[in-house]
Amino acid sequence: MEALKLPAVLENLDTFIRLAHSGAATFGLSDKRITEVGLALEEALVNVFQYAYPEGTGLVEVCLGPRNEKEFVIEIIDEGIPFDPLSRSDPDVTLGVEERMIGGLGILLIKKMMDHVEYRREDTMNVLTLLVSKEQADHD
């Protein structure tokens, strides 16, 4: 498992994404799946950047690597306010341009692109776990 802990600010997005891309590539995921891993991680991190530390700044840690031969796991850990992104209902994706709200779209993308998503509160930490399995690599 590789781990990287940095201040939860947008400026660090690229560094985290590069780590995920190279980890997912080393694990042997397809290019499409690698892009999806990057997307899911961006959506998860942007949520942390925006909401985890309303009264200042804090850190966010990304741990990633193979869980076993078939599964690649990414954990996003922050010490911000308790927040379960999976508890929100999915946005209405049928609304028109004017009515359309953007909130919740990131989480929806994570859920659709990853094979499994899990949230837990551990002591003072929010832990979001994303799981991608190799067998899904050629689903299209």
Binding site: G38, F49, I102, L105
Partner: protein, 110 residues
């Protein structure tokens, strides 16, 4: 992300290259705002070199679409790569933003 624009008879054609993520998307809104202020109402975006889009990119496109709607204008997207198309489909954006297989198709529909 890099943007370049070319004025055509009926529209402005924007070529977008690279990644539209939380870091780069605000630049898309800023650049298009300049063109809209200059009176451009029809924007056709050539996405053949757009490698990636996240919900932040969708948010920017929606903002631009709303702005154009207010002046009876439109934003049209052409030549989406499969991974970008997938994001548009999951989010339902393919139903609210006109998407075309090619730049020619988009321009023919103006």
């Amino acid at each position: 992300m890099e943007l370049s624009a070319k004025k055509e008879q009926k529209c402005m054609v924007i070529d977008i290259t690279g990644r539209m993520d939380a870091v780069s998307s605000p630049a898309f809104e800023k650049e298009t705002a300049v063109w809209i202020e200059q009176g451009e109402t029809m924007l056709v975006v050539d996405c053949s070199n757009l490698e990636y889009i996240s919900s932040s990119g969708l948010r920017s496109i929606l903002t631009v679409a709303k702005k154009l709607r207010a002046v009876n204008g439109k934003i049209l997207l052409a030549s989406l790569r499969s991974v970008v198309k997938e994001v548009f489909e999951i989010s339902g954006f393919s139903a609210i933003i006109p998407i075309y297989d090619s730049l020619e198709d988009a321009m023919a529909d103006l």
